[in-house]
């Protein structure tokens, strides 16, 4: 995995005074899923637009290579290597799903026969055969997104940009889309995915970069990112209020919940720290009914890195 599908140094873009991307470095190895994670307005879509040749970066930004081609010098070669499925459906609503597919086949210069074969095969794969003869404007959100991706795949791109592919989809359509993306990766395609859903990045991505205010706030695997952030703890639950009371006295630095009879002890989840807690409980002769170890999830990482630390839990739920 030494070949990079996407490499960018100091990606910069501003509109007037507003800096959208402020020196972003990206390195995506071939055949991997890279996720750019960030809140609305972080610059995710702008990054995709630049890397997919839709808009040009600011002058003076470093070399950008996509699929081994220099973006500035040979945009057309980059275009031949990539496929883009945007946040807003890039389908022609006035014509049918099948006509959309055949349009793509023609633009990829496939023969008539090959074009029809490929269109039929992809419509089948994306479960659109029944709707193939209907105008795309009558499709549901999930169907439009599937048609969009199917159109992108007509040209067999080696690198696919997916800009918020599941935004606005219901849970079933979202899981469908995830399954489709996983299958793409099995075929060796490189996927550049932007999302505002932490779970999505966690599910799909090999590497995640958290983009905030036009800068990469952190980058790594989901596990690496979670380790960056404190917030792990051990939770003890008691049935017996007396045992709860004694444990609370024996352990310091606990977050107590008298109603639920639970104690939270900050911990990084290592064996050493766990043993220390258990030793304390043993020497006081206390036995907890359940013990759970909580490691920080991407939500914790996201809020810590994007300046939303201390946001109450309810707000996180609402974000999903």
């Amino acid at each position: 995995m030494t070949n990079l599908a996407i490499a960018a140094n100091g990606l910069r873009k501003s509109y007037g005074d507003k800096v959208v991307l402020d020196g972003v470095d990206l390195a995506v190895p071939e055949g991997t899923v890279f996720s750019l994670l960030g809140p609305n307005g972080a610059g995710k879509t702008t990054a995709v637009k630049i890397l997919s040749t839709l808009i040009s970066p600011d002058r003076g930004c470093g070399e950008i290579r996509v699929g081994g081609h220099d973006l500035a010098a040979d945009a057309q070669a980059v275009r031949a290597a990539i496929g883009v499925t945007g946040q807003f459906s890039a389908v022609d609503g006035l014509i049918t799903g099948e006509e959309n597919m055949l349009l793509m086949a023609d633009l990829h210069h496939l023969s008539k026969r090959e074009g029809h074969r490929r269109a039929a095969e992809l419509l089948e794969r994306f479960d659109l055969t029944d709707a193939a003869k209907k105008p795309a404007s009558t499709y549901s959100g999930g169907m439009k997104r599937r048609l969009d991706l199917a159109m992108t795949l007509v040209g067999n791109p080696r690198i696919i940009f997916l800009d918020e592919p599941t935004t606005g989809l219901d849970p079933r359509s979202r899981h469908n889309m995830w399954q489709i993306i996983r299958e793409l990766v099995c075929d060796g395609v490189t996927v550049f995915l932007t999302t505002q859903y932490l779970q999505e990045a966690d599910e799909l991505a090999d590497r995640i970069a958290v983009l905030n205010d036009g800068k990469i706030a952190a980058e790594g695997t989901a596990e690496e990112l979670k380790r960056l952030i404190p917030g792990g703890h051990v939770k003890l639950r008691f049935e017996d209020p007396a045992a709860y009371g004694r444990a609370a006295a024996a352990l310091r630095e606990t977050v107590r919940d008298e109603q639920a009879l639970t104690l939270q002890i900050p911990s990084d989840g290592t064996q050493r720290e766990l043993r220390a807690i258990l030793d304390r409980l043993d020497s006081a002769g206390i036995e907890a009914d359940t013990l759970t170890v909580h490691t920080p999830d991407l939500d914790d990482v996201f809020f810590a890195l994007t300046g939303g630390a201390g946001v109450p839990h309810q707000a996180k739920e609402a974000l999903r």
Binding site: I55, A77, A90, L94, I95, L107, H109
Partner: protein, 263 residues
């Protein structure tokens, strides 16, 4: 594949897409076709007797006024058709599919060429339809041979090409369909200030130079000369110059606008 044949292939694909749109949703084209037909019937059957009194030093009858009117209305038909082009280009640019085209390894200009060729074909079809109505109510060409008919056809196509490129530019700079329709309005208002309905001599003095040298009048006079045998004079060259000038201007304007980074 050479870049020229690539351009031709992609452009013909885009043309097929535009013709498919026009075939599926003909209401816009048909609506725009109504304007020149209504004007034709209005001026002939409602205003005809009064208007004809002012033509040819008075005493002209309705048939003569039809003959006077038709060349201008044929060109106005083109002006009306390309308003539809401006609207459909503006609508198209708001669609995600255009962003997709921009990220594909296709000939970049093919999107616009598809619109232009589609629009010229539609203009020719509309002119034929309006012409058929004109013939049905009594229009006959006088003294036009094969050569004149070819020249007339060539002029109509060239005029359609010129106005289409201008309309494409108007569509590209318009944020939505309504704005495009408003921006393209002069293309159908301009014929009212030309020699289409009344001779330029009959207009107020300050208006005459504008009416005489704006793009429609030379084209109308040339078409009149070709179909009816009237004097063409310098209008022929003027018409061709206007068409070529507008086509080149519209082409440069449209392509530079399209090649700019989208918002």
């Amino acid at each position: 594949m050479s870049s020229l044949s690539l351009a031709a292939r992609d452009s013909s694909t885009m043309l097929r897409r535009n013709l498919l749109h026009a075939r599926r949703y003909p209401s816009l084209t048909l609506n725009l076709l109504l304007t020149p037909i209504m004007l034709l019937l209005l001026f002939v059957y409602v205003f005809g007797d009064t208007m004809s009194a002012g033509i040819g030093g008075g005493g002209a009858d309705r048939a003569e006024y039809i003959a006077y009117l038709v060349p201008g209305l044929l060109l106005m038909t083109i002006g009306s058709t390309v308003i539809g082009t401006a609207v459909s280009v503006a609508t198209d640019m708001t669609e995600g599919i255009i962003a997709r085209f921009r990220t594909m390894a296709i000939h970049r200009g093919s999107v616009l060429v598809g619109h232009v060729v589609g629009s010229v074909l539609q203009s020719v079809m509309s002119v034929v339809l309006v012409g058929a109505v004109a013939v049905a109510i009594g229009f006959r060409s006088t003294g036009a041979g094969v050569l004149e008919w070819f020249a007339a056809f060539g002029l109509l196509v060239l005029f359609a090409l010129a106005l289409t490129w201008i309309a494409v530019g108007m569509g590209l700079v318009s944020p939505n369909a309504e704005a495009a329709s408003n921006n393209a309005m002069p293309l159908i208002l301009l014929p009212l200030l030309s020699s289409a309905f009344v001779p330029v001599d009959a207009m107020p003095g300050w208006l005459q130079p504008i009416a005489e040298y704006q793009p429609f009048t030379p084209a109308i006079e040339t078409l009149r000369g070709l179909l009816l045998g009237s004097q063409i004079g310098h209008n022929g060259w003027l018409a061709v110059a206007w068409c070529l000038g507008l086509a080149v201007l519209g082409y440069l304007w449209s392509t530079s606008t399209f090649n700019r980074d989208p918002k």
